[in-house]
């Protein structure tokens, strides 16, 4: 410790640093005025002995206040000497210590040094002669110097003492303080306590402290936002004087500061929920749910779970904290538990309210475009009415980013004229540094004008706001569960919201709120905003509920029950994914999905990938799921700036957006391994922060897959000692950098920056590039060079087979989210390309997506269309082998309904492999997928062969996934153990390899067909109906042992769970084609048999009676490949054998072969 601090100080001792140089310069000036040798008392200064004294101070081998801030100390000495000189007192005092005391022990003679409690125990050292200065520090001088040290220590102590007092005073002035005893008593005596108080009353920071002081040992406090967890834990630690300990900690998605010592933990709602699902819920004695009035999905759900929990757990107290919005709702919800409500009045100054509606005659044009004039007029009004010497900033609430931009542009023009305003946008799409600007100070006489979404309503609190302008609008996401489409729409806000916005003007002083709507409009508003639970997809939530043991989700005590259809649709979705059984029990798959903190479909992609992809290729699926699971990596500039678009081109993939994301990520990783990143992202319009998040999420998902036994833990990487040494050095350097950064950040956070009037538009690139990026440091700490290399290898999909598998894995997880092109797309413009999904016809491609920019990728070229149709076949649809469908992540309606994040897939192959139901006619020439898409295969047997391949692949794939899940949750019964030992299973690698080979040849099969969307009218005449009885098929060539049963509506019979045979009616050509097939003798390609057989009979022959069937099984086993990441297919020229070897092994083989 001491050694370090001494080392630290050495440079200053040698006086090399510039600051010392300047000081010594001053000293020279001083000295010039006096003759050097004559040391007059009035000219004496300890500064002349700084070198010597510093030596003594730093050699005193203990760190203390003086050593820790040597520079500050010398500034103090200088000032102190100045005041002494002004007062005409000597610097070296000659007070002799005749300490005569009076009767109560008080010295009679006054000495100012008696007023100082401190004494320094620094020892005088007979110093070496200072050659340069020719001055010697004697003992008497030194004693005098020690007195100054004492005065300095006393001065510093008072400073810190005042700081502490100020802190305690601020705490005691918080409105919540008066209720301290009441709150503590209520929590001690009751099960549920509701603390209602408006922002600024101090409940979030104080209540956890009160409870801790009252003796609670493990307090969890939830926050809806990650950032609030971090900042609150910092603040509370500071107030408890434990900012350098871990008594107060936080826990958020990728980070935690919680240790065994932690007594108060700020945690996100989602994370606490996940803790509830794990068996070991930490031993909380109090759970505080903060900001419950915000009514987030997770918050609502937590309320329900905890409401149940406190009935079984008597040792847990529940504290709910909310703004004073709708307290009644929460009180009623917990009426059975007899919740106690404590209301804390907010600290709000009076706010003047003015309604300034836009009158229709004032509107310049009649269209709906937003007119910024009313907003600028208010700025003018403020300028004319309030002197600029009176501080106070303006906050404007708008509904969305576009509206913010419009207002900002107009306001900026006004600001340029007057030079009295700084315009700052604020929305969640901005980078954190841009967002932080709203907290900086404007220069004297200039006001900030912050134009914000509703993020500034509750989430972000900006001090110094005096004026609020409320547009009365909000853009909110809503969700249509029947079409699975999210909708971003503008709404009028609720009364509660409007009041919240108004309140923002009265936090630091009296304020004014202008409402750009009428009082009637206000009274027409809803009382409260719609809670999130009624506006978002519920599948993930319901799955989580199910995994938490909620048996009947319909009867869960939601504070606001979501619409019934939304629950039913979500349950159906979960059943389709196989997460729930038909009677709504959680399956093994469902259990695995619930453990992954991403959307259900993305979680499914991961589980499917874990079963189907070899271990070293799993990284690509992890990265892909993570990329789709985080917020968009593109900045707002990314799709507007031509430069950005252009520089991303090389990494775009014409397979679609997900693959492009993956390829951009790989490119970024490569850039990272070269040491860059930030500039690279900027050039491409990417948010590097998101890419770091992606990396972290992928790593987290990876760990979770391992924890769930879905992935083997990798063998520890072997490093040579040289590599290890190198890495060790790197880590040390990185840790140093991080420490420095944190110190700097801590200093910077103390003083907020001053804004420049023109800072709005000009972003200083250089400045940004030179600063240390903490995320870059952390990225490099967790990912060394070899790890990055492994990530790149794992995440890239060079070979066609890997890409096909990855796309199919994702498509399988997303199914039935597929869309087909409208048949008239070829004659429409880029922006008018129409698509249809199963649930939602007429949707558009999002203009920023790969296909939105280049829809030709999805269309057939003339060369793709087969014009030479088989005899008798006629169709309006083009006959081709190149039809494609889109598989998409989500639907989003903004100005139009859009497909977001889409990927192209070959149509028939994908549908036959993934469709939930496939209906066929007797000749397998007309196939209907999911009662939606009709595929016609006019060439005899082509449809049959493709379907048959699909059925077999589907089964093999299904088996692989089931085996994976079974191995992950082994049934520990004797029977299964016996089974295991009896049969030696083929390795996963072998199965995965064979499956991927067969799937890729299946996907690439060249078969001509037409594709048509069936409309309700078409469907009415599509099926035979249940009247015609079809005999069961025995033996069943599709699935041996599957008992056929008739379909009660369509007619025909089920031959597998997904396929209904002979229920689709025939048309002229298909009937003729069937008859023809039947009448011509058929020759089995494997045995020489030649008879007249129907397509089904042919199948039965091939599967069951063909004589070659036996031999087939004996196909020579392929050599076992070790799936090392760098193996390649290699055909040896000498021995003509195809092998899978690493480059080293290839060389070895070549040598041996010769």
């Amino acid at each position: 410790m001491d050694d370090k601090s001494r080392n630290h100080q050495r440079p200053s001792k040698r006086q090399r640093s510039p600051s010392h140089e300047s000081k010594s310069g001053e000293r020279h000036k001083l000295r010039k005025r006096s003759p050097l040798k004559q040391q007059e008392e009035s000219e004496f200064s300890f500064l002349d002995y700084k070198r010597n004294l510093n030596k003594i101070i730093t050699y005193s081998s203990d760190s203390n206040t003086v050593v820790n801030s040597l520079d500050d100390f010398w500034v103090f000495v200088k000032k102190y000497e100045m005041t002494l000189k002004k007062a005409g007192k000597p610097i070296i005092d000659n007070e002799c210590d005749h300490n005569e005391l009076n009767d109560i022990g008080i010295p009679i003679n006054f000495s100012k040094h008696h007023c100082i409690n401190f004494m320094s125990k620094m020892k005088y050292m007979e110093s070496v002669y200072d050659e340069r200065e020719k001055k010697k520090l004697d003992k008497k001088m030194f004693d005098s110097f020690l007195n100054i040290v004492s005065i300095y220590l006393d001065f510093k102590n008072k400073e810190k003492f005042e700081k502490l007092k100020k802190l305690r005073k601020a705490q005691s002035e918080l409105p919540v303080t008066k209720y301290r005893d009441e709150i503590v008593a209520a929590v001690q005596n009751e099960k549920v306590v509701i603390v209602a108080g408006d922002t600024g009353c101090g409940k979030s920071t104080q209540v956890p402290q009160y409870l801790h002081v009252a003796g609670f040992q493990n307090i969890a406090c939830t926050q809806p936002r990650r950032i609030a967890c971090v900042s609150l834990s910092k603040r509370v630690a500071f107030e408890m004087l434990t900012q350098f300990e871990t008594k107060v900690g936080y826990q958020i998605r990728f980070e935690k500061s919680k240790t065994a010592d932690t007594k108060i933990c700020f945690i996100t709602e989602g994370l606490l929920l996940r803790q509830m699902s794990s068996e070991n819920l930490p031993n909380y004695d109090v759970i505080i749910l903060d900001e419950i009035h915000e009514r987030h999905l997770m918050g609502d759900f937590l309320l329900g779970i905890l409401k149940c929990l406190i009935h079984t757990r008597n040792d847990i107290k529940l504290v709910l904290m909310s703004a004073t919005i709708n307290i009644k709702l929460f009180e009623d919800y917990f009426s059975k538990e007899s919740a106690v409500v404590i209301q804390v009045p907010g600290r709000l100054f009076p706010i003047e309210l003015r309604y300034k509606p836009i009158l229709i005659e004032d509107k310049p044009t009649r269209d709906d475009r937003l007119d910024p004039q009313p907003y600028v007029q208010i700025m003018q009004l403020i300028d004319s009415k309030y002197p600029s010497a009176e501080r106070g900033d303006l906050l404007i609430f708008m509904s969305g980013v576009q509206e913010i931009t419009t207002i900002c542009d107009a306001a900026q023009q006004y600001a340029e004229k007057t030079k009295k305003w700084i315009i700052l946008p604020l929305h969640s799409g901005l980078s954190l540094t841009e967002q932080d600007k709203v907290f900086d100070y404007p220069p004297e006489g200039v006001r900030k004008c912050i134009v914000s979404t509703n993020i500034a309503e509750t989430s972000v609190t900006i001090d110094g706001i005096r004026f609020v302008v409320d547009s009365g609008k909000v853009k909110e996401m809503s969700y249509d569960s029947s079409t699975k489409m999210q909708r971003l729409k503008e709404f009028w806000i609720s009364k509660a919201s409007a009041d919240q916005r108004k309140g923002r003007a009265g936090r630091t002083g009296p304020g004014v709120c202008y409402r750009i709507y009428s009082e009637e409009q206000y009274s027409d508003m809803e009382a409260f905003s719609t809670p999130e639970v009624s506006r978002v997809p519920l599948a993930s939530l319901l799955l989580l509920m199910s995994s938490l043991g909620v048996n009947d989700v319909r009867r869960f005590p939601f504070i606001d029950t979501p619409p019934g259809e939304a629950i039913e649709d979500a349950l159906l979705e979960l059943k389709q994914h196989g997460a729930l059984t038909s009677n709504e029990k959680l399956t093994a798959l469902g259990k695995a999905l619930a453990s992954l903190p991403v959307d259900v479909s993305l979680a499914k992609a991961l589980v499917v990938a874990a079963a189907s992809l070899p271990a070293h290729k799993l990284d690509s699926a992890l990265a892909l799921a993570a990329a789709l699971g985080i917020r968009s990596i593109y900045t707002t500039r990314a799709h507007r700036d031509f430069e950005c678009e252009n520089s991303r081109k090389p990494d775009e993939s014409d397979h679609g957006d997900p693959v492009t994301l993956l390829s951009l990520y790989c490119a970024w990783l490569r850039e990272k391994s070269r040491g860059g990143g930030r500039a690279w992202c900027k050039r491409r319009g990417l948010e590097e922060q998101r890419l770091y998040e992606l990396t972290k999420l992928a790593a987290q998902l990876n760990t979770l897959l391992q924890d769930n036994n879905l992935k083997e833990a990798p063998e520890p990487e072997t490093m040579s000692s040289a590599e290890r040494a190198l890495r060790h050095g790197q880590m040390k350097q990185l840790k140093d950098m991080r420490r420095q950064y944190k110190q700097k950040a801590a200093e910077e956070s103390k003083r907020r920056k001053r804004l420049k009037v023109d800072s709005w538009e000009i972003i200083d690139d250089k400045d940004e590039d030179n600063t240390v990026d903490i995320r870059d440091i952390e990225f490099r700490m967790t990912n060394d060079a070899s790890r990055i290399r492994a990530l790149i290898n794992g995440s890239s999909t060079n070979s066609g087979r890997d890409l096909i598998m990855l796309k199919l894995v994702l498509c399988r997880a997303l199914y039935p989210q597929v869309a087909v092109a409208d048949e008239y797309n070829h004659c429409k413009s880029v922006s008018e390309q129409l698509f249809h999904t199963w649930s939602k016809p007429f949707v558009f491609l999002h203009p920023t997506s790969i296909f939105g920019k280049n829809p030709r990728l999805l269309q057939l070229t003339d060369a793709d269309v087969q014009t030479d149709e088989p005899f008798g076949y006629k169709s309006r649809q083009p006959l081709s082998s190149k039809h494609q469908i889109l598989c998409y992540l989500s639907l989003l309606e903004t100005t139009k309904p859009y497909i977001v994040n889409s990927m192209r897939m070959p149509a028939a192959q994908t549908l036959l492999l993934l469709a939930h139901s496939i209906d066929t006619n007797i000749g397998f020439t007309r196939l209907v997928c999911d009662s939606w898409l009709l595929l016609e295969f006019p060439y005899p047997e082509s449809g049959l062969n493709l379907l048959m391949k699909a059925v077999k692949l589907r089964q093999r794939w299904e088996d692989l996934i089931n085996r994976r899940l079974q191995d992950a949750n082994p049934n520990k019964s004797v029977e299964s153990e016996l089974k295991k030992s009896n049969q030696t299973k083929t390795s996963y690698e072998e199965l995965q390899y064979e499956l991927s080979c067969d799937i890729s040849s299946y996907i690439n099969s060249d078969i001509y067909y037409t594709i048509k969307r069936c409309l309700p009218g078409d469907l009415k005449v599509m099926y035979v109906g249940p009247d015609e009885v079809h005999p069961t098929i025995d033996p069943n060539p599709f699935e041996q042992g599957f008992e056929c049963r008739p379909h009660e509506k369509k007619g025909g019979v089920y031959v597998t769970d997904n396929i209904v045979f002979n229920c689709v009616v025939d048309t002229d050509w298909s009937y003729k084609s069937y008859e023809e097939t039947y009448s011509l003798p058929w020759t089995c390609p494997d045995c020489e048999l030649s008879v007249c057989l129907s397509p089904l009979e042919r199948l039965q022959h091939k599967e069951f009676t063909c004589s070659s069937r036996m031999e087939k099984k004996d196909v020579q086993k392929k050599p076992i490949r070790e799936n090392k990441p760098n193996t390649k297919e290699f055909e040896c020229e000498t021995c003509k054998v195809t092998l899978y070897l690493t480059p080293v092994e290839i060389l070895k083989h070549k040598k041996a072969c010769k």
Partner: protein
């Protein structure tokens, strides 16, 4: 390294300090004249000392909150409104009771405030 031991011991023993004048109430880590966590600092009068909560640990920074009044023995903080220091700590009440015992330079300040 050997610093850590006494530190841990100090962490266990805490002295509750409550100013009898202003009510300031804090846990302190030491009471006396030579705080163990800053060995080069000596105090003239036994005081309530805490490790400075505003700077990182191990730097030897301390914060003196107050002491017991040399006359009445009540704990009192170092704020000017609560006490004066003149070789020892005296609470303002006691100072006021025996004004004549203190040098004028000391009592002047008290009268003013």
């Amino acid at each position: 390294m050997d610093e850590s031991k006494p530190k841990d011991e100090c962490a266990q023993v805490t002295y509750n300090f409550k100013c009898s004048e202003c009510g300031m109430n804090e846990e302190t880590h030491y009471k006396g004249v030579s705080p163990p966590f800053s060995r080069k600092i000596q105090l003239k009068y036994p005081s309530y000392v805490m490790k400075d909560p505003f700077s990182p640990p191990g730097k030897g920074e301390i914060l003196i909150l107050g002491a017991d009044c040399a006359i009445c023995g009540k704990a009192v903080c170092i704020s000017k409104q609560c006490s004066i220091f003149y070789l020892k700590t005296y609470c303002l009440k006691c100072v006021q009771n025996s004004m004549d015992k203190f040098p004028a330079e000391v009592t002047n300040k008290v009268k003013k405030s």
